[in-house]
């Protein structure tokens, strides 16, 4: 019991001290808020996701619903004629095109959607566009999951918030980036505690080093939670439909992102020795993670190998967990992979961090 009290005291005091420094409030809350409210709007206004080329030969209500649903997943859907699509495919400018044949609406009404897929040499079977197209077609036909199709087992979300999703995606990407950056900076305070003598003082009082680290980790986690609450709360107040996929899905995305960010922050504290090193890792690391993870632009616009590298970024998985929840319904089912990766990254980071921080205990 006393151990828990000590851990909580260390965490709460660290958090309180942090917010008594104006620069921390500015960097930890003000800047993310600015990015969440202002910069995200600019980014979101610059265009949706790209990629899917649709040849609509049907033009019926089901075809329109299909295109709208695809845009909501989100994708930038460009309409094309069959000839143009084939020309682009031949030139390898696009990997595939979806063809809604003349009987598409009728086939949907009959419960057996008919959908064609044209692809060129760079196409990988079972890719994102194909999976989502299949899922959408199935749900349009049945109104519920289509077990015979090897796609998601939940139907697409209500499309009411579809046009706002790109904005949410960008805000959440920035949130993940700022969580990484802020928590990495704050993790350095363990080094400051050692330099200022307060760590030695705590240890001399008989507080186990593990409790000090646990208290600091909890403080990091709480700081990230406050940051998330501010960014999401402020944008929600401005009308962002954060609960479009349900509160549990949103909460899981935030929690997993925090576990990951605080674990990686401990790792940075564990492997660095100076404030300059921490600054470099925090700034470069979080920015690179955001760029590779798709916070600044959709990954669809970058080369395929960069997309693969992006899978190493926690920002990618943070955004993926939210996207999957919005596109296929949350919580858990669509998000499971992303949540597992985030938690794994956090646990591995914490293990590295705690190992490295043992040297501070003397």
């Amino acid at each position: 019991m006393n151990a828990l009290k000590r851990v909580w005291t260390i965490a709460a005091t660290a958090l309180w001290r942090g917010y008594r420094r104006p620069v921390n409030v500015l960097v930890g809350i003000g800047l993310p808020l600015f990015f969440g409210v202002v910069v995200s709007s600019l980014f979101a206004g610059s265009g949706n996701e790209t990629r899917a080329v649709v040849v609509d030969l049907d033009g019926g209500p089901a075809a329109q619903a299909f295109v709208k649903g695809l845009e909501a997943t989100p994708m930038q859907v460009s309409r094309s004629t069959r000839a143009e699509a084939e020309e682009q495919l031949a030139a390898a400018r696009i990997p595939l095109a979806l063809v809604l044949p003349e009987d598409f609406s009728a086939s949907v009404a009959a419960g057996h959607p008919h959908l064609e897929l044209l692809h060129g040499p760079t196409y990988e079977p079972g890719g994102l566009v194909e999976r989502r197209a299949r899922a959408l077609a199935a749900s349009l036909a049945t109104g519920r999951p289509a077990p015979e199709l090897p796609v998601r087992t939940v139907p697409p979300r209500d499309m009411a918030d579809a046009d706002r999703y790109p904005y949410l995606r960008i805000v959440f990407g920035f949130y993940a980036m700022f969580a990484l950056s802020t928590l990495m900076h704050q993790a350095y305070e363990l080094h400051e505690e050692r330099e200022n003598g307060t760590l030695a003082r705590m240890l001399a009082l008989g507080v186990p080093f593990a409790e000090v680290v646990a208290g600091r980790a909890l403080a990091l986690w709480l700081e990230g939670a406050v940051q998330g609450a501010v960014m999401i709360g402020a944008t929600a107040a401005l009308g962002a439909p954060w609960l479009g996929a349900g509160l549990p899905a949103l909460a899981l995305s935030v929690l997993a992102t925090l576990v990951c960010a605080s674990g990686l922050a401990l790792a940075v504290a564990g492997v660095t020795r100076t404030a300059a090193q921490v600054n470099n890792v925090a700034v470069l690391g979080s920015t690179a993670a955001a760029m590779l993870g798709g916070a600044f632009w959709p990954l669809d616009v970058v080369p395929e190998y960069v997309q693969k590298v992006g899978h190493l970024s926690p920002v990618y998985w943070a955004m993926d967990s939210l996207r999957e929840a919005f596109a296929f319904g949350g919580p858990i089912v669509g998000q499971a992979q992303a949540l597992a990766v985030l938690v794994l990254m956090g646990v591995l980071g914490a293990a590295v961090g705690v190992t490295g921080l043992r040297r501070l205990a003397g």
């Binding site: 005091t13 200022n196 307060t198 030695a200 003082r201 705590m202 240890l203 001399a204 009082l205």
Partner: protein, 327 residues
């Protein structure tokens, strides 16, 4: 190096609060603490004196359980730091040399924080925080942020934190470094009050006046080793014939343009400047004084007063090491 021990057992039947036995700490090939042994009994204020870098702080860190010794052991109130570190630490109050406080917090917030970590809660915490703040004279500043404190006030608060939990043994590491005379006096009085109330104190300093003022028994450290220890009078007697010549020192009023280290080189004697005063150690006694005074006059220093001081710990250190305590 001379090893002078004039230790005398003053147990009075009570077991020691602190027993340091053959303590060793090495950093690579350097030995920071070399077979250090001493014992402190209940109610004593024991002085650990030595120049900067002598190993005092490392010794205190070993006693506080912050470093693992490479040899020897420390027994605090019967508990070995090797086998029962947490139990031993419960009896210790540590006042580090650096100001180990959070500047963004107020004095009372700092106190409450460390008190909670010490295991104090509720009314008991409040009582002990108030008592400690009162002892160091900071009650009126309890709600003020530490970053607005003067250096002396920070040092006093640093001590107050060390008093939380009413430790049986208080470790004070150079608690008066870099502060104004008023705060220094306040701290020394506070330590005396604690000792009078029965708290055992281990006081380290390189200010021999403070150690002489507070302590009945002392140990002198140099290069990681204890070179002399015992009751103050008996350690003082180790100085032999050496005395200290004290001369007013006012360079701003034309007392030459030399500093202490230059004077040391010219006179070939240990020289210090302390509180507008030159202190020159005369190893062979007062008979050296005329020769030294003539030399000072030749250097343009107006000798308008002088005092020859009886042997003190400074002169003991000189006699044992050939160097001034503050070198």
């Amino acid at each position: 190096m001379t090893q002078a021990t004039v230790e005398r057992t003053e147990t009075g039947g009570e077991p020691p609060v602190l027993a340091v036995r053959d303590l060793v700490k090495r950093y690579g090939h350097d030995t920071a603490v070399d077979r250090v042994s001493f014992t402190i009994y209940p109610g004593e204020t024991f002085g650990l004196l030595g120049p900067n870098g002598a190993g005092k702080t490392t010794t205190l860190a070993l006693i506080a359980g912050l470093l693992r010794p490479d040899g020897g052991d420390v027994i605090v109130c019967g508990h070995s730091l090797r086998t029962a570190r947490r139990l031993a630490q419960r009896h210790l109050g540590v006042v580090p040399q650096d100001i180990a406080l959070y500047p963004e917090l107020t004095a009372v917030q700092n106190m409450n924080y460390f008190a909670t970590l010490r295991g104090l809660f509720g009314a008991e915490r409040r009582r002990q925080v108030e008592e400690a703040l009162e002892l160091v004279g900071l009650t009126e500043h309890a709600g003020q942020r530490v970053e607005r404190f003067s250096g002396g006030m920070k040092r006093r608060l640093n001590i107050a934190v060390g008093l939380l939990g009413r430790p049986r043994l208080l470790l004070l590491d150079e608690p008066t470094v870099g502060i104004d005379p008023q705060s220094r006096r306040h701290i020394l009085d506070a330590v005396r009050s604690l000792a009078a109330a029965g708290t055992t104190v281990l006081y380290t300093s390189h200010y021999m006046e403070e150690v002489e003022y507070l302590c009945r028994r002392v140990a002198i450290m140099d290069h990681g080793r204890i070179i002399a220890q015992g009751p103050l009078d008996e350690v003082r007697a180790l100085a032999g014939e050496a005395v200290v010549l004290r001369v007013p020192w006012r360079p701003a009023l034309g007392d030459g343009d030399m500093d202490a280290s230059q004077l040391r080189n010219v006179l070939q004697l240990p020289v210090e400047t302390v509180d507008s005063e030159l202190r020159i150690v005369l190893p062979t006694g007062a008979g050296q004084a005329p020769e030294v005074l003539n030399a000072l006059v030749r250097l343009g220093i107006s000798v308008d007063g002088l005092r020859i001081e009886a042997p003190n710990l400074e002169t003991v250190f000189l006699a044992l090491t050939g160097r001034a305590l503050r070198d």
